[in-house]
């Protein structure tokens, strides 16, 4: 094996939106920058996202974000986030792009978009944006990703793909002064004269870490298969403190055994309900922002034998089946095109069909009497215009009636884990005593500021805002040698 040595000012570990924003900003503040990416191409989860960005229209947004974090994130970090969100439009413009207000082309259920949490004060001080442009059938995130990569390339910033970082290098003073990476021809020692920025994704595909930190098992991953918690492990080795380790954001998903990533499940019409193995509804199906639906299955009901409510099933009508594909609204990591009327997935056995609700219940091994009663009761609520069990909103009460009727097994899915090395408002990773670890920064999915709930667009905005802060501060460090 060859051993290669490289010297630069700032090493950025991970090439998604956070990494690109950090690299561009550090470069623009005078640093020489090298980006390492373990996958064959950059983009990470950003490239698979719906590419929504939060823009704050005033400091009043701090109240909103603070409320969503449930006290899990330092107020100063939140203030820095909101301040960054207030500048996000201008930064996109400086990069040569433009933003437009985000509008969903059609309504999907559970609903997403804006405002995500209309009952949480302060949302009026935010906007939901996307980068303008986009051609043909390309992924929704491409206009943003193209803008970022174009700016990285035109600055001549070197990006080494297929080159995973293995560990951080520290000196006797405890400063992070480099990275050891695994190159295509062997080990590479990279000296970082100013700083290292970790921007390398969460731990969605690390089963051991998910088992240790997330509140349920299984929680299936949806996004970039490169997200195996590498940055978190590296930060722990140099004494980083952790935060938000049990928080994650995602959707309900269907897991096909032949595909590594799970398929997100959403509907084009509200004619569906969720039931558990007992055949009973367990939540207002529309009661949560789409990234937080998994929280519905975490309640514990001691008088019921099925705890928590897993596996759960979405039960839906033939009208709902024909309305549009159950998966594909959010881009997934699998190379699979879901059929527009879901017929292919019925044929594959991913979706189960029954001529009656009773037959469907038998086929999915759910209590037949309960399921039949549940569906009948729900259809009554639709007629009344009032869901007396879970207070589902009137406009979303569409019956599950007619024949045949369908079911798809659903599990919690994780788009991005939130936890990782704790950092401060300057994006400096801190140790267990709360002191910054010299020359180490983090941003993006490796460790998000979102402590409990999130917003549509919250993760991507967090990545860009703190990627920029990390890039600027890393470039401002004095060279250690």
């Amino acid at each position: 094996m060859d051993h290669q040595a490289i010297e630069t000012d700032v090493v950025v570990v991970g090439y998604g939106s956070a990494g690109a924003a950090a690299a561009i900003t550090a470069n623009d503040h005078g640093a020489r920058v090298l980006v390492l990416e373990k996958m064959p191409a950059g983009g990470g989860n950003s490239r698979l996202s719906a590419a929504m960005l939060i823009s704050a229209t005033g400091p009043g947004a701090v109240q909103h974000v603070d409320a969503l974090c449930f006290g899990k994130t330092n107020r100063k970090v939140i203030e820095a986030y909101v301040d960054g969100c207030m500048k996000i439009k201008d930064w996109i413009r400086e990069m040569g792009g433009d933003t437009v207000i985000y509008q969903n082309p059609v309504v999907t259920y559970p609903t997403s978009g804006f405002p995500c949490w209309p009952n949480v004060p302060g949302w009026e001080h935010t906007e939901l944006l996307r980068v303008a442009g986009g051609a043909g059938d390309e992924l929704p995130a491409m206009p943003l990703w193209r803008l970022l990569t174009h700016n990285v390339e035109r600055r001549g910033i070197k990006v080494m793909t297929g080159t995973p970082a293995r560990n951080l290098v520290t000196n006797q003073k405890g400063e992070v002064v480099g990275v050891v990476a695994e190159g295509k021809q062997g080990e590479i020692s990279i000296q970082a004269q100013k700083a290292v920025i970790l921007t390398c994704g969460g731990f969605e595909y690390n089963e051991e870490m998910k088992d240790a930190f997330l509140p349920l098992t299984p929680i299936y991953a949806i996004g970039n298969p490169g997200n195996t918690g590498d940055g978190i492990a590296m930060a722990l080795e140099v004494g980083a403190a952790l935060w938000h380790m049990n928080a994650f954001h995602g959707w309900f998903v269907f897991k096909a055994s032949e595909y590594e990533a799970a398929f997100t499940i959403r509907f084009h019409t509200p004619g569906f309900i969720y039931v558990d193995k007992d055949g009973r509804r367990f939540a207002n199906e529309m009661g949560s922002e789409v990234h937080e639906v998994s929280k519905m299955v975490m309640s514990f009901m001691p008088h019921r034998p099925n705890h928590p409510h897993l596996p759960a099933y979405a039960i839906f009508s033939d009208t709902t089946r024909r309305k549009g594909p159950l998966s594909g609204i959010v881009s997934g990591a699998n190379d699979y095109k879901w059929s527009l009327d879901n017929s292919k997935e019925v044929a594959k056995g991913w979706i189960t069909m029954g001529r009656t609700t009773g037959e469907l219940a038998r086929r999915i091994s759910v209590n037949e009497e309960n399921l039949t009663k549940t569906v009948a009761r729900y259809n009554e609520y639709c007629k009344m215009g009032r869901d007396i069990e879970f207070d589902r909103s009137r406009e979303t009460l569409e019956p599950v009636e007619g024949a045949p009727v369908y079911a798809i097994e659903i599990w919690p899915g994780v788009g991005t884990t939130s936890g990782g090395p704790r950092w401060d408002r300057e994006a400096r990773v801190v140790n267990r005593q709360g002191k910054p670890i010299p020359r180490l920064y983090a941003a993006g999915g490796v460790s998000s500021m979102w402590g409990f709930l999130t917003l549509s667009g919250g993760g991507l905005s967090d990545a860009i805002v703190f990627g920029r802060i990390a890039g600027q501060n890393a470039a401002a460090e004095e060279r250690w040698m």
Binding site: A51, T108, G134, G136, D137, P140, T269, K323, I329, D341
Partner: protein
Amino acid sequence: MFAQRQFTVRAPQPRVWDLLAMVIYQELPLEQVDIVSLDRFRALLKWRAGFINFPLHVEGRLIDTLRPESYGCIILVKRGPIQMDVKVAMRLKALDQDRTEVLCSATIEGKETLMGLALRGLQRNFALKMFDSIGARLEWLCS
């Protein structure tokens, strides 16, 4: 403009706007809705005129959509010799705190085709039926 309807809903303007998008997609006889980009979708429109079914492949593109004032869509209809761009626009106006006026209109964009002109009556009936059902649904939801 080939079809227009105006109705009043007993709810504040932002509430009506929020319901509007949901109601439109619930009332339109669309199937196989495919979101192809951040502002476009394709679908199969199950248009029925009398006893005759006309399944039409349509492509929709959001335009002039601004909460809580307007909601608009250009729908490109294509089937054999039938090809037309239909602009559907909804304009909302607060009459007072609890009442909102909704003005719905459908217009052919661009060049008129002979086939389009021949089908104008059917189009008008379809558009008016949709506007009426959207109005009725909004009224029921806000009652």
